[in-house]
């Protein structure tokens, strides 16, 4: 794959309308624009992250199939329809570079790409499935008529045990070594005889997915080697920064511009903190009220959040001053702390308008002694978390669900469940940003004031 700057891309690959699910065996012989390199990858990443969230929320296979179809449609279409396949392949290979670099990244990427492949395979036509089976060079063979007749009774028993329609006379079954389809064996979903499993057409996905996963796993290791040995250094000024940024990217709105629901005034803050702040911000807010002080990490996290919520700079200065002067005095506040607030609003220094922190960023921060920032779902002890959630009004059943998510390290899902419990309404998109929590909460609690949908 050649990366070029600002040139129109040309393709050599023919458009195969039957099997649009690529095998990703080799990097394509294409020229790719640098912008496309990044954009394609981010679009695919949105799909993978959508899948990741849905899986963690325990979505059923039928729901997953629909979700994947929607996500793919929403993100992976190219303005020129014939370019769809190329975008698919290019984005996959770019993300291989991004996600080959550590064991954790590889594991995540492998899981998500495998899930994506599984559902895209299932969404394909029978014709497409059959064609792909052949491409994959799987250790399976379609059984003959005689074999079918001999095994028919057993195959029917299996079908009945899962309330499936009985196999018809022309049904296709594949004979496969049982170790190739562990999930089917584990669930007793296939008839096994002398080491071979008899796999029905609709189950064939298991085979394909196992192969896909195995191939990709090996490829990622090789990619990592190549990356560390040559590519990273070679592309130091061009691709490497893009690749390194991609794995950390947050892909939602950035909340740096205040929303239409208007400005928030200081007197609203206490009430809003109780009703609409996510736990991380509520904790910081409460601590600020209690101690009249916050350390740097907390000031940044809460301060930027409040900016995103709609607190004007003048009000922010007044708010922080009112608190801090109770501890350090008004003069010291003006001297030591006011500057950084102005800095956050882009009125000082290089005048960058800083964006409020996303969940990803907050979760990965490391609060130390005396700090109150970071993600409480991650850092609070279970006891403290339960107490805090209780104060927010989370009921006992929801609390168990939240704690369960925390134990499995799904902190954002825990926050989402908290949101749902507190607002008695579902949050399908999941919480990715504290300001999103706030704006969603606001939308629910103040329907009269809601101008934008």
């Amino acid at each position: 794959m050649e990366i070029v700057r600002s040139q129109r891309s040309r393709t050599n690959t023919p458009n195969d309308s039957v099997s649009t699910l690529p095998l990703y065996r080799y990097a394509p012989q294409l020229e790719v624009r640098l912008e496309d390199f990044e954009v394609f990858a981010m679009d695919r990443l949105r799909v993978l992250k959508g899948i990741s969230d849905a899986l963690a929320r325990g979505k059923r296979p039928e729901e997953m199939e629909n979700l994947v179809r929607d996500l793919w449609k929403a993100n992976m279409r190219h303005p020129e329809a014939s370019e769809d396949v190329n975008k698919d392949i290019i984005s996959h290979f770019v993300l291989r570079l991004v996600y080959c670099r550590t064991e954790d990244l590889r594991k995540w990427f492998l899981s998500m790409e495998t899930a994506l492949y599984r559902y895209r395979f299932l969404l394909g036509s029978s014709e497409a499935k059959r064609a792909l089976m052949e491409e994959f060079d799987l250790p399976c063979k379609a059984i003959s008529r005689t074999e079918f007749e001999n095994a028919k009774e057993k195959l029917e028993q299996v079908a009945r045990s899962f309330d499936q329609p009985l196999p018809t006379a022309d049904a296709i079954f594949y004979k496969v070594p049982f170790e190739e389809v562990p999930e089917l064996v584990a669930g007793r979903r296939v008839y096994i005889h002398k080491g071979h499993a008899y796999v029905a057409m609709h189950q064939v996905v298991s085979l394909v997915v196992t192969q896909f996963r195995s191939n990709l796993s090996k490829a990622l290791i090789l990619t990592n080697r190549k990356w560390t040995s040559t590519i990273r250094e070679q592309e130091r000024d061009r691709l490497t920064p893009i690749v390194e940024a991609l794995s950390m990217s947050y892909l939602g709105p950035d909340y740096s511009q205040t929303k239409e629901f208007g400005e928030i005034s200081i007197k609203d803050l206490d009430q809003l903190a109780r009703s609409s702040f996510p736990l991380c911000m509520r904790h910081l807010f409460d601590k600020l009220r209690e101690d009249h002080h916050l350390k740097h990490g907390g000031r940044m996290q809460l301060g930027l959040f409040l900016k995103g919520v709609g607190l004007r700079m003048e009000d922010a200065l007044a708010f922080w001053k009112a608190e801090f002067s109770q501890k350090v005095g008004a003069e010291r506040f003006d001297k030591e702390y006011a500057y950084s607030i102005r800095h956050n609003y882009g009125k000082e220094g290089k005048r960058t308008d800083y964006t409020p922190y996303s969940c990803q960023k907050i979760i990965s921060s490391t609060p130390g002694v005396g700090d109150h920032h970071g993600c409480p779902y991650r850092h609070f002890s279970e006891e403290n978390l339960r107490a805090a959630l209780g104060r927010m009004g989370v009921g006992s059943r929801a609390m168990e669900d939240v704690v369960d998510k925390v134990r499995n390290r799904h902190y954002q899902l825990a926050c989402t469940l908290t949101f749902e419990a507190v607002h008695s309404s579902s949050c399908d998109a999941g919480i990715n940003h504290p300001n999103q929590y706030f704006s969603d909460s606001h939308k629910i609690l103040q329907p009269k004031n809601n101008n934008a949908a």
Partner: protein
């Protein structure tokens, strides 16, 4: 006897005693072990087995293979030595004789000699990790405590031991017919269970995921103290379960277990079975019948049969509109008789398992192989014990069965020691039924693998 004393007490002291009035008291004794390892334990056979043909001269032999196998020894005072490895038969034999472990466990074959494991990282490419391991199963009768009334805990008797026999039949048939495995060794665990070693090459190379899949294929019982119904069949049964039921379980339940465990004879016992039926009208109907029937019962045996028939009729009669009830009968039979495996043992390649021919420290019984085709013959109460074997050695009691011929005196001294004891039968069985066919197949595999390897193809994967 203290450790110092036992060191001084040599074999001779025990064995050269008077031939009459053989004073070897029963029970387990570390001194006995020394004699056992010195004269009876089949070191060479274990070595041959664990080598899987790699101790030969074929160019395809992997000389490092045996040395990469982990053994672990449990010594007196529960000192546990892991990651023992040996490079030859004599190293293995000498170490066992010297250390005299009360238990020998066999672990996997690792990527490198376990003794050198610290030189290798846990992650990345150069790892110390299992590469081969037999597919193993561990069935323990204590897992059946909720369905046996004769014994509990570590006790075993002839009433409940048949549960193990049934487990062997079900699993063995599935391993051969369904999974296509041939080289399967069943071993009595010495007290209250059985172990299974599947030694085909394919089995040894299975990943943890694949082992887990096989274990799940065998899994039927899914419960804990909180659920009444631990076996549940939402739909018609898979062919494997059908076969197990029609060929083994139903007959065993109806003709043996019902009686031996008196499953319906008391209210407490029949209530347990009634709790597995999720339909109030059925259970109250049956309960009504049984509470009044108590008066008119003839003999104890009849009651169990009689009530089981009543239960089946009620459940399977046309009256039952509820689909779920039709399989209740099977659910009950499976709940009592279907094998209960320890999933963790089978799923992880690095799990250690006791070696065959060890002696169980609590019972003194030897872990002898079991012939799956003849497993009803195994009586756990008559399995040879360590002290019995030593007595046999002493008296030179010829329990020899070599081709049913009588041996003349000179030949007597050329025969292996174990032939003079009841261990002989077990070792002969181990060799002829298991070891020899296994080694033959290993040789064939090695030869064909070698030919294939000669025509290597380069594997090219671009990024």
């Amino acid at each position: 006897m203290t450790k110092e004393e036992s060191k001084n007490g040599s074999d001779d002291m025990l064995i050269d005693g008077p031939k009459q009035g053989n004073v070897i008291p029963d029970g387990f004794n570390p001194n006995y072990l020394k004699v056992y390892y010195g004269r009876l334990f089949p070191h060479a056979d274990i070595f041959k087995w664990m080598s899987y043909g790699n101790d030969g001269r074929h160019p395809a032999c992997d000389k490092s293979y045996f040395g990469r196998r982990e053994f672990s020894f449990t010594l007196d005072n529960d000192i546990y030595l892991r990651f023992q490895s040996f490079n030859s038969e004599s190293e293995l034999e000498n170490s066992i004789k010297e250390k005299c472990p009360s238990k020998i466990d066999i672990g996997p074959v690792y990527s490198v000699d376990p003794a050198k494991r610290h030189a290798y990282a846990q992650g990345g490419d150069n790892v110390f990790a299992p590469v081969e391991r037999e597919l193993i199963f561990d069935i323990d009768i204590t897992d059946y405590d909720d369905v046996r009334y004769c014994c509990s805990g570590a006790d075993v008797c002839l009433e409940c031991w048949p549960l193990m026999t049934v487990a062997i039949k079900v699993i063995d048939t599935a391993l051969r017919d369904d999974f296509g495995f041939d080289h399967i060794l069943w071993v009595y665990s010495g007290r209250r269970g059985v172990h299974c070693w599947v030694c085909d090459g394919k089995a040894r190379r299975l990943t943890n995921e694949q082992r887990g899949a096989i274990a799940d294929y065998f899994r039927v019982y899914k419960g804990n103290e909180n659920s009444n119904k631990k076996v549940s069949f939402p739909g018609p049964l898979h062919p494997f379960l059908v076969r197990s039921y029609t060929e083994v379980l139903r007959e065993f339940f109806e003709e043996k277990l019902l009686l031996s465990q008196n499953l319906f004879s008391t209210e407490e016992r029949y209530e347990k079975i009634l709790s597995m039926i999720p339909d109030e009208s059925v259970t109250s109907e049956l309960r009504g019948k049984w509470q009044e029937n108590r008066r008119s019962s003839n003999s104890k045996e009849d009651i169990n049969f009689f009530r089981w028939e009543q239960l089946k009729n009620t459940l399977q009669s046309g009256k039952q509109k509820v689909q779920g009830l039709r399989r209740c009968v099977e659910e009950i039979v499976f709940a009592f008789t279907y094998p209960r495996l320890d999933m963790e043992v089978s799923k992880h390649r690095n799990h250690l398992l006791k070696a065959p021919f060890c002696v169980h420290p609590k019972t003194g019984r030897v872990c002898i192989p079991i012939d799956p085709k003849d497993c009803e013959e195994l009586d756990p109460t008559t399995v040879p014990t360590l002290s019995e074997l030593l007595r046999e050695l002493n008296t030179g009691d010829s329990r020899m069965d070599v081709d049913n011929a009588t041996l003349t005196l000179p030949m007597f001294f050329l025969v292996a020691e174990w032939e003079k004891t009841s261990l002989g039968k077990s070792i002969r069985f181990f060799r002829s039924s298991f070891l020899q066919p296994l080694l033959k197949s290993c040789k064939e595999e090695m030869e064909s693998g070698y030919k294939a390897k000669i025509q290597q193809t380069k594997n090219s994967l671009s990024w």
